[in-house]
Symmetry: C2
Subunit: 329 residues, 2 copies
C-alpha cells in the first residue's frame, strides 16, 4: 500500500512544525497554546490541500479515543434467524451510532466455543474500541467479570445475573406491565389461570414468574414439556398466560375452546384466530439507544466516578391490549 501523507509532510507544506499541525487539527485552544489566526489558516489550507486524514492507530496509541464502539453478540447476528432477535437492537444501535458519530466494530472473528462466541481471545480487537455493547440471551459470567475488573466501559443489553459483579446494563422491565395484564384479566372476571413457561432459570424468566406468582390471580404453573396435558390440567382455569408469544401459538394449536390467552413477551405480529395476541411490546430500538447513551456516559466519566452512576437501567415494556383476553365465562 502506498505510503500515506503524514503530519510531518503537512507541516512542511505549511512551513510549521509537526506539533503545530496536530494542535490545529485538534482545535486545541488551551492555556498553553495560542496560534495566530494567520498560521492556523495556513495549516488548515495545507491540511485541506493534502486531503490529510490522521492515522487512527497512531491517535489511539497516543492516548486518544477511537470513536469506535464494539458490538459483541454471542451468536451470529446478521443471519436471518439472528436478525429476528437482534434486528431491532442493531437498528437502534446503528441509528444511535450515527447520531453520536461512532463507528461500529463487530467482533465476528471471535472463536466459537460450545456454540458461543468468546469475547476474550489472543487477538481480540476489543481495545481498539472506546467501549462495547454486549448482546445475547445468555452471556459468560467470567467474561463479564473480567470486563468489570478491568474497568472497561461496556453495557450489556438485558438484565444480567450470570455474575455477582456489578454489570452495567439496560434491561426490560417485564414485571410492571405483566402485573398490569393480570389486573386486566381480573377486571374481566378471571379468577384462575395457567402459566405456561419454558422452565429456564434466566433473569427474565424469573422476573416473569415473579409477576405471575405475586399477582392477584391464582396460577397453575405448567412447563412446556407438559403442553399436551393442558386440556386435562385446565379445570376451572379461564385464562392462560405464556412466557412468550410462540408458546401462546402452541397453546392455541391445542384448540381449547373459550380460553383467554396472553403472552408476557413481544407479541407484535402475532395473531390468533383472527385477533391480535394480547401481551407486551418490547421497545428494542429504544433499548439499544439507551444502551449507547449509558455507554457514552461511562466512556466520558472517569472510572473513579463510576460508582455515582446509575448503571443498571430499566425500560418498562408496553402492554399490547390485543384481543385475546375476553370476559371470563
Amino acid at each position: 500500500v502506498r505510503r500515506r501523507i503524514t503530519q510531518r509532510e503537512v507541516a512542511e507544506l505549511a512551513g510549521v512544525s509537526q506539533a503545530t499541525v496536530s494542535v490545529v487539527l485538534n482545535d486545541r485552544t488551551g492555556s498553553s497554546v495560542r496560534i495566530p489566526e494567520a498560521t492556523r489558516a495556513r495549516v488548515k489550507a495545507a491540511l485541506e490541500q493534502a486531503a490529510y486524514v490522521a492515522d487512527p492507530a497512531a491517535r489511539r496509541l497516543a492516548g486518544m479515543g477511537s470513536r469506535i464502539v464494539g458490538v459483541f453478540t454471542y451468536e451470529a447476528a446478521l443471519s436471518p434467524e439472528g436478525m429476528e432477535f437482534y434486528g431491532p437492537l442493531l437498528n437502534g444501535i446503528e441509528v444511535a451510532a450515527e447520531r453520536m458519530a461512532w463507528d461500529l466494530l463487530f467482533f465476528t472473528s471471535s472463536p466459537v466455543e460450545g456454540g458461543q462466541r468468546r469475547l476474550f481471545h489472543r487477538k481480540t480487537r476489543l481495545r481498539l474500541t472506546d467501549g462495547c455493547v454486549l448482546l445475547g440471551q445468555q452471556m459468560v459470567g467470567e467474561e463479564l467479570e473480567r470486563l468489570v475488573v478491568e474497568e472497561f466501559p461496556f453495557v450489556a443489553i438485558g438484565r444480567r445475573d450470570e455474575t455477582d459483579a456489578l454489570v452495567p446494563y439496560v434491561a426490560v422491565d417485564y414485571v410492571t406491565p405483566a402485573a398490569e395484564l393480570i389486573e386486566q384479566a381480573v377486571a374481566k372476571g378471571h379468577r384462575r389461570g395457567i402459566y405456561v413457561h419454558r422452565g429456564r432459570e434466566t433473569a427474565v424468566a424469573r422476573d416473569r414468574r415473579r409477576a405471575i406468582e405475586e399477582g392477584p390471580l391464582e396460577f397453575l404453573l405448567v412447563e412446556e414439556a407438559r403442553l399436551a396435558e393442558l386440556p386435562r390440567l385446565r379445570r376451572e382455569a379461564t385464562v392462560i398466560f405464556t412466557e412468550e408469544a410462540s408458546l401462546a401459538q402452541d397453546v392455541a394449536q391445542l384448540g381449547m375452546a373459550g380460553v383467554s390467552l396472553a403472552a408476557l413477551g413481544e407479541v407484535r405480529g402475532n395473531r390468533i384466530g383472527g385477533r391480535e395476541l394480547t401481551g407486551l411490546h418490547v421497545p428494542r430500538q429504544r433499548l439499544a439507544s439507551e444502551a449507547l447513551e449509558l455507554l457514552e456516559l461511562l466512556i466520558t466519566t472517569e472510572t473513579s466516578r463510576w460508582s455515582g452512576l446509575d448503571r443498571q437501567r430499566f425500560l418498562v415494556a408496553e402492554v399490547e391490549p390485543g384481543g385475546t383476553i375476553e370476559e371470563a365465562r
Copy 2:
C-alpha cells in the same frame, strides 16, 4: 481506564527482553531468530499467566495488518428497509468474516451529504482496516477513484460504472439468465413483448435493457411513469417483462387478462395470482463471500502485482422458472 499489561511486563515476568516476547507471540521462526524451546515455553507461560493481549493499535502502527475489514454502505444498512436489500449480503459477509477470522468495522460515523454517506471525511477510520467492502445501489465516483489511486484494497458489490477507474467488484450477470428467460418465452410461442423499466441509467439497468433489445423477441419499451397506459399499448404483446419484481406486481394490478409476466430481478417470495413469479434469483450471500475472497486476495497481494489479478468478477444469476409465463395464445 486502568493501564493494561504490556509486553515489557510480560518480558520481566519471563526474564527475557521485550523483543523476545514479541517474537514468541508472533511465532516468528525465520533465519534471524532461533529461540530455545525452554525460553519459548517460559515466555508462553508468562503470556498465559498475564492473560496478555497485544494492543491492536500498536501492532497496526508497527506495520501489521489489523484483521479488520471495513463495511461501507451508502445508506443505513441495519434499518428494516435497509435489511431488505443488504440483509442477505451482510449475512454472507458475516459468515465469510467469521471463517476468515476478520472483524467488521461499520462506518456508521460517516457524515451524510445529499442523502448519501461519505466514505472520506476528516475522521474516517478507513485506515484502521486492511481493506473495505462497499455496498450500495449508487456510489460516488470520486470516492471510488480515490480508493483506486491510493491503491487501497477494496471491493465493491455490484457492477460499477460511476468512474472509468478500474474498480474491483463482484457483480451479478443478469444478461445471461435474462436471455435464457426470453428464449423460454419464445419457446412458448411468444413473439411480441413489452419491457417495463424505471428509466434509470445504472449499469444494471443498461445490462437488462441490453438483454431485452438484443434478444429474439420484439419488445416495446415502456417506462414506469406510463404504466397506466399499458392496457392500451399492449396490442399484440403476449408477455410483459419488468425490470424488477415490484414492477411486475404493479403490472399485475392492472389486471390484464391472459398476459404472461416475468421479472429480470430477484423474484423469491413474489406470487402473482397464486403462482410464483417467473424471473431471476440473485445469490446475494455468495456474492458477499466472493467479494471477501477477492478482498483477501487484494490484501495479500503486493499492489505491484494487482494488474495480474482478475478484479472484476461476475456471478450468473439463476433462472427462477415460476409459473407466470404461459403458452402464448
